[in-house]
């Protein structure tokens, strides 16, 4: 029987792949979004910075910054779900030089529940349905309290073709 791989080796491999995905997308770096990983679960973190403000009087986050954060979280979750399955099945080399295939947004509906405060924000996306071609994702964002969402969204996405079609 094969001995299990050391936990650190597995973590390093998974984090390397996630890092490769998020660093490949310029807009994620522009907004300063980071991802916390626990197993396959991702939490997106948007550290507060003054450039994200939409109402200088209230120092409230711009609705567009919030929408961007939610859409980035959804797209990364969808891409990561595919990459994770490929990684676990040994179909992807995290050291390889492969750009991820990003799903295309079909539509995205944002529900602004309260104004975004000048603090860090967090978001998690849930894939409600992922078929061969289309996916439906719900995403929730909060700041200080997990149960007090400040925004949520639902989006539909066109999934990339599973095999190389270039």
């Amino acid at each position: 029987m094969k001995t299990p791989e050391p936990v650190q080796v597995i973590k390093t491999r998974r984090d390397a792949l996630l890092g490769k995905l998020t660093s490949a997308v310029p807009y994620i770096g522009f907004l300063g979004i980071e991802f916390d990983r626990r197993g396959d679960e991702l939490t997106a973190v948007l550290p507060y910075k003054p450039a994200l403000v939409g109402n200088p009087a209230l120092q409230a986050l711009h609705g567009g910054a919030t929408a961007s954060f939610l859409e980035v979280t959804s797209v990364v979750e969808l891409t990561w779900a595919t990459l994770w399955a490929d990684l676990e099945a040994g179909r992807v080399d995290p050291e390889g030089d492969v750009l991820p295939r990003i799903p295309k947004t079909i539509d995205f509906t944002v529900d602004y529940l309260r104004s975004g405060l000048p603090r860090d924000a967090y978001a998690r996306a849930r894939i409600n349905r992922s078929g061969r071609r289309y996916a439906s994702v719900h995403v929730e964002a909060w700041q200080d309290n997990r149960s007090r969402l400040f925004a949520q969204a639902t989006g539909h996405f066109l999934m990339p073709a599973p095999t190389d079609s270039e």
Binding site: Y27, P56, H62, S68
Partner: protein
């Protein structure tokens, strides 16, 4: 308030928004519940490194800002507004390298809500890249409701 004052105040307000400045948005037209805002192509806003296409989130931000500007310029409207909800349909990828331009208008206002539609184009103005509908808070400037 005279319409020209309102347009001036709304313009100053929009041009002072930090996130809109970070995305290099510029207000091209504003007045009477309608606004046009453009956003030049910027590699920092790319969402798909394979194609160089701008991230949908940046287009959302443009349409949200333009919707808010349209509400603020409405003759009965407030000088500040907040988005209640915004739905965007992405009809095609915007061409890499091209400026994206959005036009938004209030198609109906009640005593507390403004309903807005917006469309975005790149340099090919025959084929929109995205369309949006949204609801924005609308507190009438005179403080009262309809008589």
């Amino acid at each position: 308030m005279a319409p020209t004052d309102r347009t001036k105040i709304a313009r100053q307000f929009i041009e002072a928004i930090p996130f809109s400045k970070a995305l290099n948005m510029s207000l091209e037209e504003i007045g009477e519940g309608r606004a046009v805002i453009s956003m030049p192509y910027n590699e920092a806003l790319v969402g798909d490194p394979r194609s160089g296409v701008i991230h949908g989130g940046a287009v959302s931000a443009l349409m949200d800002t333009c919707g808010g500007a349209a509400v603020m310029s409405h003759p009965d409207g407030p000088i500040a507004t907040a988005t209640i909800d915004l739905r965007i349909d992405y009809m095609r990828a915007a061409a890499p390298g091209q400026t994206i331009r959005t036009e938004a208008g209030c198609y109906h206002v009640t005593r507390s809500v403004a309903f807005v539609r917006a469309t975005a184009w790149d340099e090919d103005t025959d084929r929109p890249v995205a369309a949006a509908t949204g609801a924005f808070t609308f507190q009438r400037a005179n403080g009262g409701g309809k008589p």
